[in-house]
């Protein structure tokens, strides 16, 4: 039961984590995240890093699609821009890692703002097509701008290195990627406590009355695209440091659909949903792999089935969530929370 949560100041009521219980849970979660690498094996660290990269990208996509209502199917291509930025900066100029990541975010934000220009005129399906088009244009650039991207052969990177510490293995990369993911998620949560976040939601819900209420649509739609792309760029940069080879094939169009699916499954317009969606969608293929492992003694071609089954499961999940739980995993979580807040009274 949730009791004794009365506040004495508006600032306390506006806090992101407004009850002591929430703060204790948060501290516990941070502690678990910090200690996780010392107990987990290589495989789980690898998965954790991948999940954290996806959390950043999905949070970014949720800002533009879930909160601002502008459907974008270019998130993977934007990640590609970030990854190439880092790869080029690292191999040609050898600039510091954090600077490279910021540059990746900034350049991708600029690209995203340009891609977002059609959003001023078109919405919904039409905007989705426009972003698909720009995603294919970016792929073409990755594959053919040989002097910068080395075409189809791609770019290999040395391991990231900060102040002489090398971030090569997942164990070390974990301590680079996860804090950045934390920062990204907290920044996004902060955003939606202020006028900028409210403006995004207003544009999603009723853009015409938002304009009459004093929100310049042009500026805020482009800002949303740019911010979302900044997240994608940073995620792509981390991706480059994580896999250490960037090719045009690294960011296929289905990867964009994967991110959109994560937003839908997690919960559109929910920061928590971005986290849950990214974790869930990244782990589903692993669970399927486990299933294949169990089945293989009984089914001779279980491994060959993995790929089609994965596609079917992804498709089924998206359809299932759209029909039965349109607000995603975040809503399920809220229901569970509400149950415990009201327990033992009738819910």
């Amino acid at each position: 039961m949730r009791i004794a949560t009365a506040k004495e100041s508006y600032a306390a009521d506006e806090a992101l984590f407004d009850t002591p219980t929430q703060r204790v849970w948060l501290a516990l979660f941070v502690a678990v995240c910090a200690l996780f690498p010392f107990t987990a094996n290589e495989y789980w660290l690898y998965m954790a890093c991948l999940v954290a990269i996806h959390v950043i990208s999905v949070t970014g996509l949720n800002i533009v699609t879930g909160f601002t209502g502008l459907v974008s199917l270019g998130q993977a291509a934007f990640m590609g821009v970030g990854a190439y930025t880092v790869a080029v900066a690292e191999t040609r100029f050898g600039t510091p890692v954090l600077l490279n990541l910021i540059a990746a975010g900034a350049i991708t934000a600029a690209v995203g703002a340009v891609v977002g220009i059609p959003s001023l005129r078109v919405k919904g399906l039409y905007l989705a097509i426009a972003t698909i088009a720009s995603s294919f244009i970016l792929h073409f650039v990755f594959a053919n701008w040989n002097s910068v991207t080395h075409g189809v052969s791609g770019i290999s990177l040395p391991p990231a290195s900060i102040l002489g510490v090398e971030f090569g293995r997942p164990f070390a990369l974990y301590f680079l990627i996860v804090p950045i993911a934390f920062l990204a998620v907290f920044s996004a949560s902060n955003l939606f406590r202020t006028r900028i976040g409210r403006a995004f939601i207003a544009i999603r819900d009723r853009d015409i009355s938002a304009e009459v209420l004093g929100i310049p649509l042009l500026r805020y739609k482009l800002m949303s695209f740019a911010l979302s792309s900044f997240y994608a760029g940073v995620a792509g940069g981390l991706w480059a440091y994580f896999f250490r080879v960037v090719t045009p094939e690294s960011f296929p169009f289905v990867y964009s659909i994967f991110f959109l699916a994560a937003v839908i499954v997690g919960g559109m317009g929910s920061i928590l949903g971005s986290i849950l969606g990214a974790v869930f969608m990244t782990m589903v293929p692993e669970v399927l792999k486990l299933g294949v492992g169990v089945m293989s003694p009984f089914l001779s071609d279980a491994v060959a089935l993995l790929s089609p089954v994965r596609t079917i499961v992804f498709g089924g999940l998206i359809i299932g969530f759209l029909i039965f739980e349109p607000h995603g995993l975040a809503e399920i979580w809220r229901r569970i929370r509400r149950f415990f807040h009201l327990w033992p009274f009738k819910t």
Binding site: E14, S187, N190, R195, R198, I201, E211
Partner: protein
């Protein structure tokens, strides 16, 4: 009482057409500062179009709109909002995905300075502005409109009358100099209408905000307005004090069609339910 004061809003020779359809033709009137001015007229007379021209959503074909003495014809809707033109909508335009509190806070958008970077860090200016805004919204607006019990509810769960009240709250958060209300009591029961009438008068008297409203409830118009403008087929057919307007035979005919003028007059003056 306010007939002598200078106009806060002046509409001159405004014409609006959608293709061949003339919606407004040479409409001119003034809204005295500190008054309650009502625009009345039959359905389709162009009242809401008039509002949309003032808030910048429609671009009139010709004519001028002057607010506090300056022409605002070239300004975009957000710039007009920043100047102090606030409005509510006939079909309630609240943001369904937000709570009541966030909807009201959104009204202040144009007067805040928090930048994207402040917002991401929620530090310094963002924290200060948001806390100040919260205090002001709570103490001035939510208390005044008696909506403290619903402040954390999503607007989608509210009853119609409360939604109208939240929309008024959001418009008040815009620091309005002139508040445009598009049918503030349409579809409300008697009690809700009386509450809304009380709020409108309080806004005018305590907040010193000029009110321009479109309303079909003649009783309310007669009771609240200092000044009435009658539109019919996109033209002003009468303007003046409520009593003058309702005894104008043109108005009675335009508004209620033909029939016994004496009965119609009593209807228009709110003595007989329409």
């Amino acid at each position: 009482m306010s007939d002598v004061s200078e106009p806060i809003l002046e509409v001159r020779d405004l014409s609006l057409a959608f293709g061949g359809l003339k919606v407004l033709t040479d409409v001119s009137y003034t809204v005295p500062k500190g008054s309650v001015t009502a625009i009345i007229g039959p359905n389709g007379a162009g009242k809401t179009s008039m509002f949309n021209c003032i808030s910048g959503f429609y671009r009139p074909k010709s004519g001028a709109i002057r607010f506090q003495g300056t022409d605002i014809g070239h300004l975009h809707p957000p710039q007009r909002a920043e100047l102090g033109l606030a409005r509510t909508f006939q079909n309630i335009a609240l943001f369904r995905g937000m709570t009541v509190l966030d909807n009201i806070k959104l009204g202040r958008h144009a007067h805040m300075k928090t930048s994207l970077f402040d917002a991401l860090a929620y530090f310094g200016r963002a924290r200060r502005e948001e806390t100040e805004l919260r205090a002001e919204v709570e103490e001035k607006i939510i208390d005044f409109l008696e909506i403290d019990h619903i402040r954390n509810k999503p607007v989608a769960s509210l009853a119609y009358g409360l939604r109208k009240r939240v929309e008024l709250a959001r418009a008040l958060a815009m620091k309005p100099k002139i508040l445009m209300l598009d049918e503030p009591v349409a579809g409300m029961n008697r009690e809700e209408t009386e509450d809304m009438a009380r709020f409108i008068l309080d806004v005018k008297e305590e907040w010193g905000v000029t009110i321009l409203m479109v309303e079909h409830d003649m009783g309310l118009v007669m009771d609240l307005s200092d000044h009435v403008v009658v539109l019919n087929f996109g033209q002003v057919i009468a303007a003046g004090k409520p009593a003058e307007v309702t005894s104008n035979e043109d108005v009675i005919r335009a508004y209620l069609g033909s029939g016994d003028v004496e009965v119609l007059r009593r209807t228009v003056q709110g003595e007989v339910a329409a």
